[in-house]
């Protein structure tokens, strides 16, 4: 596969959220504000790229029986960097994201890409795969949070764009709307795939 194919494959064709239904815990939890989604998405891209690179780098020296533990520890180390960085530079957002930064560790996308790609491919290819998968994930977060923030607060990235006449839908800020929106997104994309196949 060429580098471009690896990227497109990771970001869209095998997109973790809508194709494999992985890593949706945080996809649902942080998406009531676009800024939070963007920051978490960047955190995931950072962790995914470097973790994929590291895991791929040591893939030939990792004993198969303990590879899951090693992968988890590598991922956790990068998540700690993200967490410390956020606490130091964006304390407000770090507080809002709460445990969800730490939960990047158990985000199935990271283990998924490590198992499916990084443990069998070259370091540089794995990095591209990581960037692709991370961007695909961030895209989903941004789409869902766009709808939730627009209807729930009448704003985008904290800027109010709907006028004073807009009455915010409080349901959009609460949990159920996240489930419904993700279901609708998956429905739309699956229907598109079935149409394209037929």
């Amino acid at each position: 596969m060429t580098k471009k194919e690896i990227f497109v494959n990771a970001a869209f064709r095998e997109n973790s959220v809508w194709r494999q239904i992985l890593g949706i815990c945080s996809a649902l939890a942080v998406t009531n504000l676009m800024l939070n989604s963007l920051i978490l998405g960047l955190g995931v891209i950072f962790t995914l790229t470097l973790a994929n690179f590291t895991i791929s780098l040591i893939r030939n020296w990792t004993p198969r029986s303990v590879r899951m533990m090693i992968q988890t520890l590598i991922i956790a180390s990068y998540v700690i960097i993200v967490d410390i960085f956020l606490k130091a530079n964006l304390p407000e957002i770090s507080k809002q994201l709460g445990p969800y930064v730490g939960l990047i560790i158990t985000n199935c996308i990271l283990m998924g890409r490590a198992e499916a790609f990084a443990s069998q491919n070259k370091p540089f290819d794995s990095m591209i795969d990581g960037i692709g998968a991370g961007l695909g994930y961030t895209l989903v977060l941004l789409v869902i949070s766009f709808v939730r923030e627009l209807f729930g607060f009448g704003s985008i990235f904290g800027l109010r764009i709907l006028g004073d006449w807009w009455i915010s839908w409080s349901i959009m800020v609460m949990a159920p709307s996240a489930f419904f929106l993700l279901a609708l997104l998956i429905w739309a994309i699956n229907t598109y795939y079935y149409k394209a196949k037929a």
Binding site: C25, L28, A29, S77, L103, F179, A188, N190
Partner: protein, 195 residues
């Protein structure tokens, strides 16, 4: 935090259900909810592991991480404690209760990567719970998770013969059902406030 452990226990089941309001443990929730039996097995394992690891992690955090000033390592330490405990449990069950191992054993590795387990430990630190509160919160969260996965498994069994739009089958319809359940659970939200 001066909420009594008893209140916290009920709050963790109903008003701030770990899955329906905090979205934790979604991956295994969606993939293991096809059969009621396996949902029950995984749910029971989650309750057990969640209760014990929240206690273990509380002790580790307050007697190891804080005195030595290595709180920033909490993610690594917590995940190692959880993985080690699950591994230990697996060995123990395999040795002493082979029958239980065959019905529960396959779920144990899944639990390490269940974000509800790590999530509860992190919530416990962020909200600075006491030891008793942490255990109550862990047990309540586990029961809440079992409740949610059992409800979904039951509903999915009913849906098997129903006509569902092709793009919505599987994950899509499960998410919509979960959304409706979450709407129902909002009804509990006025009772107690935990944050």
């Amino acid at each position: 935090m001066d909420i009594s452990a008893f209140v916290l226990f009920w709050a963790a089941i109903f008003t701030s259900n770990i899955l329906l309001t905090n979205f934790l443990g979604m991956c295994s929730y969606l993939s293991v909810s096809r059969e009621i039996d396996s949902a029950m097995g995984l749910g029971l394992a989650v309750i057990f592991v969640l209760t014990i690891t929240s206690a273990l992690n509380w002790v580790v955090y307050h007697y190891l991480l804080v005195p030595f000033g290595i709180v920033y390592l909490q993610y690594i330490i917590f995940i190692v404690v959880i993985a080690a405990f699950v591994q230990f449990l697996e060995l123990l069950i395999e040795r002493y209760a082979p029958a239980l191992y065959y019905s529960l054993g396959i779920f144990l590795p899944l639990i390490t990567v269940n974000c509800a387990i790590l999530g509860v430990s992190l919530f416990m630190v962020i909200r600075s719970y006491s030891f008793i509160q942490s255990v109550a919160f862990g047990a309540g969260s586990g029961i809440g998770w079992l409740l949610a996965i059992l409800m979904l498994a039951g509903l999915r069994r009913k849906l098997k013969e129903k006509l569902i739009p092709i793009g919505l089958r599987g994950a899509g319809i499960s998410l919509i059902i979960t959304g409706i359940m979450a709407l129902g659970f909002i009804g509990f939200s006025g009772i107690v406030q935990v944050q």
